[in-house]
């Protein structure tokens, strides 16, 4: 929160006069308070609140608003990005629109999604013929406000202009958008994009995920372990949520 305030203050201060700086400071302070109230009242995960929390305190607390902001588009890449999306979709309260490419060799599998708490019955799968159609559908979905979350799996990176459009649509509909790209290899160059946060989620040995926060709007490097902030997590069937994994030496090898 202090990061938000500082960034706003800086940004405003460099451009305009002192009165404006003071105004921005007040606004930032108000925003911080609102965010704190919202986090307290909704307990995260609740649609209608301002954020969708992952349900894992270690990660949620590292985010400026205590979760992935609604009314924003986020991006997840990596080999376990689908699982990450499934967890988020499971926590979103309401229908989830999931735009997939028609030509994709694989399809979403309900039983697998259900295992991550994402009830397939809440899912609407859109089979888009091409990238243009997919972006159009995602934008419509975000703007409509009816779905709690809109996921899209574009075959190629979403450009800066397109991601801005999506961001505006998400703001208009107060909907969470997630651009999903299961990139192979770790050297993928990331295109510039207007997404609010960008995550890399990779499969790790022993059924774990390595979640890395690559970028997050409103989060400055100062005060955080940044960049390269990452967590090792795993899915707990019993609790129906993510849990941090103890350091390798401390835990027995368990089945996936």
């Amino acid at each position: 929160m202090s990061g938000t305030g500082a960034a706003k203050t800086e940004a405003a201060g460099t451009r305009v006069a002192k009165t404006k700086t003071a105004k921005a400071g007040v606004l930032a302070e108000l925003r911080r308070r609102i965010a704190a109230i919202e986090r307290g009242s909704t307990g995260g995960g609740e649609i209608g609140g301002a954020v969708l929390a992952l349900g894992l305190a270690a990660i949620d607390h590292a985010l400026p608003r205590g979760g992935l902001g609604l009314g924003a588009v986020h991006e997840a890449i990596g080999s376990a990005a689908t699982g990450f999306a499934a967890v988020l979709a499971g926590r979103a309260r309401g229908p989830v629109l999931w735009c997939v490419g028609e030509a994709a060799a694989d399809g979403l599998y309900g039983a697998g999604l259900a295992a991550f708490g994402c009830d397939p019955a809440r899912l609407v799968v859109l089979r888009c013929r091409n990238a243009k159609e997919m972006l159009w559908a995602m934008e419509e979905g975000l703007r409509a406000a009816a779905p709690a979350m809109v996921v899209a799996e574009p075959a190629s990176p979403v450009g800066l202009g397109a991601s801005r459009r999506l961001q505006l649509a998400a703001e208009a509909g107060r909907t969470l958008g997630l651009v999903l790209r299961e990139t192979k290899g770790s050297q993928t160059r990331l295109a510039p994009s207007a997404v609010a946060s960008r995550w890399r989620v990779d499969t790790a040995p022993n059924g774990c995920w390595r979640i890395e926060l690559l970028r997050c709007r409103g989060l400055s490097a100062a005060g955080h372990n940044w960049p390269g902030k990452h967590w090792m997590v795993e899915w707990h069937d019993a609790t129906g949520g993510l849990a941090l994994v103890a350091p390798p030496g401390d835990r027995p090898d368990q089945a996936a």
Partner: protein, 562 residues
């Protein structure tokens, strides 16, 4: 009822098509071949006045008139043209029907007053005037008559003294009296029989006793006479089932500007929505028709997942379609028709309105109309233990209104290496105790598509559970063969897939899944499969299976875990 007759449809079409190549005065015939002879099928006005008539042989015709043009008859094309013409007549009334080969019925009940002009013509005469005038413009000779009964209209159109006639109420008897009996749509033999008795005019039949007529000619004569005079109702089937909820808008001058069309659409949508609201209905399909000045009709339709009558929503749905419509040389009439109607309580009416913007239906409609409704899908569990059959993607809107079917997400037939007792050839059939309150459907019967979004809580939420992490997040549409598999004992240790070598750190399995022997399934022709959940050195988790037993094993990747 209006009967429209196009006595020269076949030859008029040819003249229209060959625009000007034929002289007006040159007799034109269409010719058909029957039993090795060429017979005249249709004649135009010039040929008719030269004494030629359909049915004579071409040789006779040539003997009578030397300078004739002949074309092959095209009965199929004529019928199609008549169908289009009947459709075009939809500009006057929603209720039109093609009649035999050269006529059109128009039921203009309640429509004629729309055509009453400033020149003090009554509506009916103005309508006929307009109709015949336009047909003449297309180069089609036409006659039309308006009467209370189809029979009388038919008779007057074909045998009346003038090419248009409007018979006022109560005037049927006197109007029909001077017409020949053939005007009653009687067979040639009957007409011949009547004339031998001296009954040549319809009026001659009025005083004749029914019983001897019926004894001699059967019921036909009396029936046709009664139909013409309106003593017996005569149903005529319309060309297409015309929707009762239809509104139209005609323009004094043809319009072509897309913005005008959009404005016209908005007005129509408002009127249609009002009428639907009055009757407590919503529609699931709306058709927008443009009647163009050149006589053709353009149609486009949008669908809705659930019945709606929200004007804003409907206009939005059409917005994408308007670009596809081509106004051509201008549009004279717009018509909007609600096709599939359902009851819609007033409370539901403002979905998509400002008050409730969390309803998914307007969005699904927009997506469905753009992408196609089959592409907007939900995943439905199917009772099968085969992983590729266990779910189906069903169009969300294919069968709206149905409640989720009572089915359960079947567990796999887990038989871990226990080949001895994994014996039941019925596979999972044995192990499906349905929980109370859940019905059962016959195997192979598709579950009814459900509207998942309407039932967010409740039993539906439970049906996908029970598999834990043993199923992948993504299932490959077609299992992909892997190469260079090394096996330690029965456990896979390494393989090559998608241009990469995967060395496995871990493999959990096998889980045996037997094909459903009672079903032909090409994909499962290889027999039972042993599935493994494997994890390679990078932590990537795949669903691998082996088929063909230990001797001839073939390995495939079938899914990817998150």
């Amino acid at each position: 009822m209006v009967s429209l007759w196009l006595p020269r449809l076949a030859t008029d079409r040819i003249r229209r098509r060959e625009a000007g190549a034929l002289g007006q005065a040159q007799p034109l015939l269409t010719v058909t071949e029957a039993a090795g002879r060429f017979l005249v099928a249709a004649v135009d006005r010039a040929a008719a006045s030269a004494g030629l008539a359909p049915g004579i042989s071409l040789a006779d015709a040539r003997a009578l008139v030397s300078e004739i043009a002949t074309r092959p008859a095209d009965p199929v094309g004529d019928a199609a043209a008549l169908g289009r013409l009947a459709e075009w007549c939809g500009r006057y009334t929603p209720w039109t029907a093609a009649e035999r080969v050269d006529g059109v019925w128009l039921d203009i009940t309640g429509c004629a007053h729309l055509f009453g002009g400033p020149d003090l013509l009554d509506g009916e005469s103005a309508l006929l005037e307009d109709l015949l005038g336009r047909l003449l413009g297309f180069g089609l000779a036409a006659r039309a008559a308006l009467a209370e009964t189809p029979g009388a209209a038919w008779a007057l159109a074909r045998f009346g003294a003038k090419d248009r006639a409007v018979i006022p109420a109560g005037g049927l008897r006197s109007a029909l009296a001077p017409l020949p009996v053939a005007s009653l749509r009687l067979g040639a033999a009957t007409v011949g029989g009547l004339s031998r008795l001296g009954l040549r005019r319809v009026g001659d039949l009025y005083p004749v006793a029914r019983a001897p007529l019926a004894a001699r000619f059967g019921g036909e004569v009396a029936l046709r006479l009664d139909q013409a005079l309106g003593r017996v109702a005569e149903p005529v089937s319309p060309r297409r089932v015309q929707p009762p909820y239809r509104v139209r808008l005609s323009f004094p001058e043809p319009i072509g500007d897309p913005r005008d069309i959009a404005r016209g659409l908005e007005r129509l949508v408002d009127r249609l929505a009002e009428r639907l609201a009055d009757d407590g209905l919503g529609c699931r399909r709306v058709e927008f028709a443009l009647f163009r000045a050149d006589g053709s009709v353009q149609r486009t339709a949008v669908g809705a997942a659930r019945a709606t009558r929200d004007p804003a929503h409907l206009v939005r749905l059409f917005a994408e379609r308007l670009d596809e419509l081509d106004p051509g040389f201008g549009i004279e009439t717009l018509a909007l028709a609600a096709l599939a109607m359902e009851k819609l309580a007033p409370a539901q009416a403002d979905i998509g309105g400002e008050n409730s913007n969390t309803d998914l239906d307007p969005l699904l409609d927009r997506l469905g109309n753009r992408l196609g409704f089959t592409r907007v899908q939900c995943l439905v569990p199917v009772e099968s233990h085969l992983p590729d059959r266990a779910q189906r993607a069903v169009g969300v809107c294919q069968n709206p209104g149905t409640t989720p079917s009572p089915s359960r997400y079947a567990g796999p037939s887990l038989s871990l290496k226990g080949r001895g007792e994994a014996a039941s050839p019925l596979g999972s059939v044995d192990e499906k105790p349905l929980s109370p309150g859940q019905g059962e459907y016959l195997d192979g019967a598709a579950p009814k598509p459900l509207s998942p979004l309407r039932e967010r809580e409740g039993p539906a939420a439970k049906r996908w559970e029970g598999e834990g992490v043993s199923r992948p997040l993504r299932l490959l549409r077609w299992p992909e063969p892997v190469a260079a598999v090394t096996v330690e004992g029965v456990t896979p240790a390494a393989f090559h897939w998608r241009r990469r070598n995967h060395r496995l750190r871990r493999a959990v399995g096998p889980e045996r899944i037997e094909p459903e022997w009672w079903r032909e399934d090409q994909g499962w022709a290889g027999g039972a499969r042993d599935y493994w959940r494997v994890e390679d050195e990078d932590g990537r988790r795949l669903w691998l299976y082996r088929e063909g037993g230990e001797e001839e094993s073939r390995w495939f990747v079938h899914g990817v875990f998150g």
